[in-house]
């Protein structure tokens, strides 16, 4: 029994042993993928539906590849071409998918908790591929795998997550996973982008890049969504300009120099070059593992699919 329950809705509730075994399995899939072989028996005759209510290229493609490499029939249901845009509710969609006997449902939605709601109503195993500001568990797993491959461990590493923590599901899944695996997690950003009560999860909060990056093993930059700068219904943007943001919080070579000399630079993508990360840093092969994150994404998703399949369908 590797995963509690039949779904993967978040990192919350996964214990370190489960996380380690998922990472171990993902590691073996990473090697298999590099060898060019596949294991099409794992999900043979199973149907995986990618149900994406939000645009995504990277995550959807990654799940599609992972499913296909394990032998599943993969169907993509982007929202813009489905009946959801004609007013069908989330639960109508769930009923439809049930009627189609879908086995695995990969869901991305703009609202926190939407995959949890679907999981109550569908027979399929549900994988959260990002819900609102809540969680993005496979991203955290692939980040952890990437770090572990370079450092050989997670325990006692200093990991710094930079930028828009408040609106980031990647940040939540990451600090949950990394703190439970023994990392020291720091978050850094302007106070308007740091969510309430985050210290309660074993994270230290910084507002200055120099102190935040001091001695860091890993520096993760988060995408700054441009709508955060626009005036919203509460009367103002959360930051005044991209220029000011980059000056104080953008990851450039000078700020990166505060970290350990061999620090890893990560980004969940897609990047805003010149906003949260400078091109010199993103493309610096001595530090940047951003492309490897994408590669590990496929391996991690294969491991998650394999694990859920064992749990739900009783495959070997």
């Amino acid at each position: 029994m590797l995963v509690p329950g039949r779904h993967l809705l978040g990192i919350e509730g996964l214990n370190p042993a489960v996380i380690s075994s998922l990472l171990d399995l993902a590691e073996s899939y990473a090697l298999l993928n590099r060898s060019g072989e596949t294991r099409r028996d794992v999900l043979r005759s199973k149907t995986l539906i990618n149900l994406f209510f939000e645009d995504s290229t990277r995550t959807r493609t990654s799940f599609e590849l992972a499913g296909k490499r394990l032998g599943a029939d993969v169907i993509n249901m982007p929202v813009s071409t489905s009946s959801v845009s004609k007013g069908e509710t989330l639960l109508d969609t769930a009923a439809t998918l049930n009627a189609m006997n879908c086995d695995i449902l990969v869901v991305r939605h703009k609202s926190s908790g939407a995959p949890a709601l679907l999981a109550q109503k569908v027979d399929a195993a549900v994988i959260n591929a990002g819900d609102g500001m809540h969680e993005h568990p496979t991203q955290a797993l692939l980040d952890a795998l990437t770090i572990r491959r370079h450092r050989g461990r997670l325990e006692e590493l200093i990991v710094v997550i930079c930028g828009d923590i408040a609106h980031s599901r990647v940040a939540r899944s990451n600090f949950l996973l990394l703190t439970s695996m023994g990392c020291h997690v720091r978050v850094i950003g302007p106070p308007t982008l740091i969510p309430t009560g985050i210290e309660q999860f074993g994270v230290t909060v910084h507002h200055d890049m120099r102190s935040a990056l001091e001695g860091a093993d890993v520096v993760m930059a988060l995408r700054l969504q441009t709508e955060r700068m626009i005036v919203d219904q509460t009367g103002g943007g959360l930051i005044p300009s991209a220029r000011e943001y980059f000056t104080y919080f953008g990851l450039d070579p000078v700020k990166l120099s505060y970290a350990k000399p061999d620090a890893l630079v990560m980004h969940p993508g897609p990047m805003n070059r010149g906003v949260e990360i400078a091109s010199q840093v993103a493309d610096d092969s001595a530090h940047s593992v951003i492309r490897e994150q994408v590669e590990m994404g496929v391996a991690v998703r294969m491991a998650v699919l394999d694990t859920l399949a064992q749990r739900v369908f009783g495959n070997v």
């Binding site: 509710t89 609202s111 926190s112 908790g113 599901r169 939540r172 309430t196 009560g197 309660q200």
Partner: protein, 427 residues
């Protein structure tokens, strides 16, 4: 239209009338829809239905000062008829109804229509609130004089705060001329865009937060406006300790302020929204445990004047949505008494204090005179078995609205009978 009320003798009940502090075991005699006499023993008067109420509590019919009944405009959620059934099952005989329907209660004819619709059920008195602003949209004050004459008990924009300080000042000031109270949903609107109380839990769930101070801010502002205008304010469903502290201090200074709260705020805290349970999504949101404790303290020390159902009917389509998109609000009529009694069983409130918060105290706000037992008064009564247990279950509650945050909760205290003007309407 209805059967005439039967003459009834309720025997051996613990009769509790918070208005006078009366608490004795005895009989109560209903004749021609009124309370003929109570206390002691009246034998077996000829032609009377006799009800053995030994071991039960007989109190005034509950007075609920805050409910939305779905009509007009939201009949898919609840109708006055279905809400009246739920009210009767909850021991409630008087319901003050919020004005933010479609259309809003901003016209004298609508006030009269609502009151008549209550009478037509034979189960409840409806006391309509008038709109504080036309259409309850917070632009211009409504016709308080005409609305009051038609029977509006006070003025409010219902589930919406009167956000503009200038408008609130005008409302308090103008209402004062008619001796009317402004009822405020105390929540600073520009901070109220979230889905849950702002906290580490909301952060973890990825839900936009509403800071608890949004309540105290509007309370503080409005208290100052009351001092400025000499008007009267009532704060609805107060949910935070900070707001209660302000109200407590204001009362001590002699300011014209009263307030109420609803069972979720003294019985539940923010943990109830775990697993994205949208039935526990309320407005104001469920707060931290220390605020829940502060609300209990506010009930116990008298700072809070009334417990209301805050009945906000929602149907499945309003609630079976991702949390942030789901409509806030809880069904409350049928569970008002039982959740309040949980505080009596828990030793936090006396039976007398709890029943006062449900009957006499709300029944004397806004210049009302109801919620008491007295000779010659209409026989609006609630008889309940204080220790009998039942299970609150969404799906089997009386009335249409099944959106209870107390689903699955075992409670003690069940209504055995409800009388409206001498007619037995429940049990």
């Amino acid at each position: 239209m209805f059967d005439p009320p039967r003459d009834t003798l309720i025997t051996g009940a613990r009769i509790v009338d918070p208005a006078t502090g009366y608490d004795e075991v005895g009989d109560l005699l209903i004749k021609a829809g009124k309370i003929l006499d109570f206390g002691g023993s009246f034998g077996e008067p000829e032609g009377s239905t006799i009800i053995d109420a030994s071991g039960m509590v007989l109190c005034p019919g509950l007075v609920d000062l805050r409910a939305s009944l779905g009509e007009p405009g939201f009949e898919y959620r609840e109708t006055i008829e279905s809400a009246a059934l739920a009210a009767s099952a909850g021991g409630i005989t008087t319901v003050a109804v919020l004005p933010d329907n479609a259309p809003a209660t901003d016209d004298a004819a609508l006030v009269r229509a609502l009151a008549s619709a209550g009478d037509a059920t034979g189960r409840i008195n409806i006391l309509p609130y008038g709109a504080a602003t036309r259409g309850c949209v917070g632009k211009t004050i409504a016709e308080y004089g005409l609305l009051r004459e038609a029977g509006a008990i006070a003025f409010t924009d219902g589930t919406r705060a009167i956000g503009s300080a200038a408008l609130m000042r005008r409302a308090l000031s103008y209402a004062r001329g008619f001796g009317a109270v402004i009822v405020q949903h105390p929540e600073e609107p520009s901070l109220a865009g979230g889905a849950a109380t702002e906290s580490a839990r909301a952060t973890l769930m990825g839900l936009p937060g509403i800071p608890a101070c949004a309540e105290a801010m509007l309370v503080e502002r409005d208290l100052r406006l009351v001092e400025l205008t000499g008007g009267m304010v009532h704060f609805a469903h107060v949910s935070t300790g900070a707001a209660l502290d302000l109200i407590r201090q204001a009362k001590a200074r002699g300011i014209n302020v009263t307030c109420d709260t609803a069972p979720p705020y003294f019985d539940l805290n923010e943990t109830a929204i775990g697993d994205f349970r949208t039935y526990a999504k309320l407005s104001p949101p469920l707060r931290m445990e220390e605020d829940r404790v502060a609300v209990v303290a506010g009930l116990a020390d008298g700072t809070i004047d009334a417990i209301v159902s805050d009945h906000q009917p929602r149907d499945a389509d309003d609630k079976r949505l991702p949390f942030a998109e789901a409509a806030p609000g809880a069904s409350g009529l049928a569970t008002l008494l039982a959740i309040t009694l949980a505080k009596v069983h828990g030793g936090e409130l006396s039976m007398m204090a709890a029943l006062a918060l449900l009957t006499t105290r709300p029944g004397s706000l806004f210049g009302l005179d109801t919620g008491r037992i007295g000779k010659g008064r209409p026989a609006d009564l609630c008889l309940f078995a204080p220790e009998r247990a039942w299970l609150i279950q969404s799906g089997s509650l009386p009335g249409k609205a099944q959106n209870t945050p107390f689903d699955g909760r075992a409670v003690e205290g069940i209504v055995i009978g409800t009388w409206k003007a001498g007619r037995r309407v429940f049990g």
